[in-house]
């Protein structure tokens, strides 16, 4: 069974690479990254072991375990062997599925990186009588990671069958992302919270984390090595037995969830009912034509109803609220800078504009099949983003004002938001028209974005980063003007007003160029965004 699944995984991987040229680039990049990171951490651990240090080991094992929990969720939909619901119709017993899927897990960049890390542990910590115990701990840690990741994806596979389940999974993963962002800021926050914010004066004591981490499954595996190194072989054997027990429990949970999934003959789907008209009266009154209003209304409906659109928007919102983190850490900027910064994250939404055709996918044919220019369509999509930005920037500006006391600057935020919206959408429109790419369908792909893009996400990421740099440069004159006249309200109003006009002008220029391209290449764009 293991051999069959290994061959299946290999066939899926190689077919995927052949089908998507960018996928080869993506896979090579992932492999290089995995080998580099795994190799570096492995070398570091080997040196740590030889120098007699071991305090970081439980933290490293726990971090590795956490990555294995989240990684498969992010890659869900790319690796078809991760989704057991696809295998449910086959007459396989849970233990056969467990064996096969576990074997398939070993064929990935992640497992290669993990093997390098654990090889470093083995080289650094194995010596004399402790060798057998260290080897056992390393094997248990690897199996723990593989089984935990697979158990979670099996549970998720069941949950994704319903709209509510998808929302739940989405929320959980976004919370995890926020936690990760927060952890990244932790050293900063602690430094700022300490009285002497001199870089380098703050030391994190890894020993303080050890008492907590030793009770986690990977912590037990790390403790085996710590005890074996100290010559406490009895404690090491006990820790190994406990870690092994965790493996058995996780395997049982996995087998149970696989069996449960296979028994579910059909997934019940709740049918949502919606009332009212596509284009609300308020939108008809504001937007210029029926087509613009229709596209804007449809975009907003899609963002509200489509799981992957919600996730992408939420990811962007996470980015938007990142400026708050330094404030929470006590590094409070001047009032005017913080409040005016509320307008800058609007640039981030260029990511949404950049995939406006790809988000439609195959249904974009409806736009190709009707006469007329695509100008109205692009304007409608941009208008929908503007409607979204209004509450987001308002909340952000008010939150920042509450934290800094800079209430008098809140009124200027909308003007600067118009500028950043204009610049961001102009750049996003150009990317959409010149580099159209297909966005994975949520039911076929995953909910969480880039890894399901078969390498195209890499191209989009590079383009978006470049566009963000250009966007920031285009925003600099108004930002400098606002800084210069921060104490002069009439002049500040003039500068912000000029910024808004500048943003609209950039938007019009970008719109004209994107429309010209989209109108002449609409068949090619349709072909590019339609997945086969």
């Amino acid at each position: 069974m293991a051999r069959h699944f290994l061959r299946l995984k290999w066939a899926l991987l190689s077919n995927g690479l052949r089908r998507h040229p960018w996928g080869t680039f993506n896979a090579a990049g992932m492999l290089l990254l995995g080998v580099s990171l795994g190799g570096l951490v492995g070398i570091g651990l080997a040196q740590l072991g030889r120098s007699g240090g071991d305090l970081w080991l439980p933290a490293v094992f726990t971090a590795m375990f956490a990555l294995w929990l989240i990684g498969p969720v992010i890659a869900f939909g790319v690796d078809e062997t991760l989704d057991p619901s696809r295998l449910a119709p086959l007459p396989l017993r849970p233990h056969q599925l467990v064996t096969g899927l576990l074997a398939a897990s070993t064929l990935s960049a992640g497992s290669g990186a993990s093997a390098l890390v654990l090889l470093g542990v083995l080289i650094g910590f194995a010596s004399g009588a402790a060798t057998v115990l260290v080897l056992g701990a390393v094997i248990v840690q690897l199996v723990l990671c593989l089984v935990a990741g697979r158990t979670l994806t099996t549970l998720i596979s069941g949950a994704l069958g319903s709209r509510r389940g998808r929302d739940l999974v989405t929320t959980l993963v976004l919370l995890l992302m926020l936690v990760f962002y927060g952890l990244g800021q932790l050293p900063n926050l602690l430094l700022n919270a300490s009285e002497g914010p001199v870089p380098g004066t703050f030391r994190v004591d890894p020993g303080a984390a050890l008492p907590i981490l030793r009770y986690t499954p990977p912590g037990q595996a790390a403790l085996v090595i710590v005890h074996a190194r100290d010559g406490a072989y009895g404690h090491a054997v006990l820790a190994l037995a406990l870690a092994g027990l965790w493996v058995v429990l996780l395997l049982a949970a996995w087998a149970w969830s696989l069996g449960h999934l296979a028994r579910r003959s059909s997934q019940r789907r709740s049918r949502a009912r919606v009332r009212g008209r596509l284009v609300p009266a308020a939108m008809r009154a504001v937007l210029p034509s029926g087509r613009v209003a229709a596209v804007a209304a449809r975009e907003l409906r899609y963002i509200a109803r489509h799981p992957s659109r919600r996730v992408r928007l939420a990811q962007n919102l996470v980015l938007i609220f990142l400026p708050l983190l330094p404030l929470l850490g006590g590094r409070v900027f001047d009032q005017e800078v913080v409040v005016l910064a509320a307008a800058l994250p609007a640039l981030v939404l260029l990511n949404e504009a950049a995939v406006q055709f790809g988000s439609d996918g195959a249904p974009l044919w409806a736009h190709v099949a009707v006469p007329g220019t695509w100008r109205s369509d692009i304007v409608g999509r941009n208008a929908a983003l503007f409607v979204l930005l209004i509450p987001v920037t308002t909340v952000l500006a008010l939150a920042l004002a509450a934290l800094t006391g800079g209430w008098r600057f809140v009124a200027f935020v909308p003007l600067l938001t118009v500028m950043t919206w204009g610049i961001g959408t102009a750049l996003g429109n150009l990317i959409a028209a010149y580099v159209p790419i297909a966005v994975p369908e949520p039911e076929q792909g995953n909910l969480f974005g880039t890894s399901a893009w078969q390498g195209q996400g890499c191209l989009l990421g590079v383009m978006s980063m470049l566009a963000l740099v250009v966007g920031v440069l285009l925003s600099v004159p108004a930002a400098l003007g606002a800084w210069r006249f921060r104490d002069n309200a009439p002049a500040l109003l003039l500068v912000c007003g000029a910024g808004a006009v500048w943003g609209v002008a950039v938007w019009l220029v970008g719109l004209a160029a994107a429309t010209r391209r989209a109108d002449s290449e609409r068949l090619e764009i349709l072909e590019a965004v339609t997945q086969r």
């Binding site: 919606v274 008209r277 596509l278 087509r291 409906r301 249904p363 409806a366 099949a369 006469p371």
Partner: protein
């Protein structure tokens, strides 16, 4: 009606010889390759105005590719298409205004409800909102989708998706309708209703180009047929002439070539595996 079996079309290039006045849909020398594979290899086609025209062919014959080129959704490598005397590639907007299309796998904005989807397509085509609502209501009633009008299309069954896609295709009252396997997955009652709607549509002078594998349906409703094989039209004409007193199935099997497999090769099938 023209057909040039086994003879490649004229050495047509885009915007080549003008054959615009000959029928509601005229194609000359249509060719299209994907990679190194030629999917359509010189199709010449004339569909008379007001006809119910059946486009037949085995799987992979090139029917869907031909329909995509006829509806201006796929640019041909060579060849020309006129819809009601309008050249599709030199005046695409005018051509698109009079075309309606239902594709084999309807790709719809399925996070909209059925009613919202019709409103969306109507507004995209520039129809007045009140007109859109009136027509959408009529279509939802006739196609028996009224009860599901406020449900999201993503929750529709395959047959319901076909019906809402047909409603989308009919919404702007096109002069020429292209239908790719319209009766697939449709229940018999709905199929009868749709046949009636379409026959009424052609009797008013409009034209339908209709692709199907179901020869029985084609025989019942089409007045003209063409059989596509290996990207070329091998037989075309009024259905009675094509049948020549026999059945359409016989003609189809004859021109496409009967397969050698009889089922004897699968001797194990149906026997006990114990």
């Amino acid at each position: 009606m023209t057909s040039e079996p086994s003879v490649p079309g004229p050495q047509a290039t885009l915007h080549g010889s003008d054959a615009s006045g000959e029928g509601a849909v005229v194609a000359r020398g249509l060719r299209r390759s994907f990679g190194g594979v030629r999917a359509v290899d010189g199709i010449d086609l004339t569909v008379p105005a007001g006809s119910f025209f059946g486009l037949l062919g085995p799987n992979g014959a090139g029917k869907t590719t031909t329909l995509r080129m006829l509806t201006a959704l796929l640019r041909p490598d060579a060849g020309d298409v006129w819809i009601e005397s309008i050249h599709v590639w030199t005046n695409p907007d005018a051509a698109k205004a009079i075309i309606g299309a239902l594709h084999e796998e309807p790709r719809l904005f399925d996070r909209l409800s059925g009613a919202e989807l019709l409103e969306y397509h109507g507004l995209l085509r520039g129809l007045a909102p009140t007109e859109v609502r009136q027509r959408a209501d009529d279509l939802l009633d006739v196609l028996d989708l009224r009860a599901a009008a406020s449900e999201l299309v993503v929750d529709y069954s395959h047959g319901m998706r076909k019906k809402i896609a047909l409603a989308v295709a009919l919404l702007h009252n096109p002069k020429v309708l292209f239908l790719d396997e319209p009766f697939e997955a449709i229940d018999p009652v709905s199929a009868r209703t749709i046949r009636s709607v379409l026959q009424r549509y052609t009797s008013a002078g409009s034209t339908i180009v209709f692709s199907s594998h179901v020869l029985d349906v084609v025989e019942r409703i089409c007045d003209h047929v063409a059989i596509v094989h290996h990207g070329r039209i091998v037989v075309a004409g009024p259905i009675d002439e094509v049948r020549a007193g026999g059945s359409l199935e016989d003609v189809f099997v004859e021109v496409v070539g009967a397969r050698d497999a009889t089922g004897e090769e699968l001797a194990w099938l149906g026997t006990s595996s114990d």
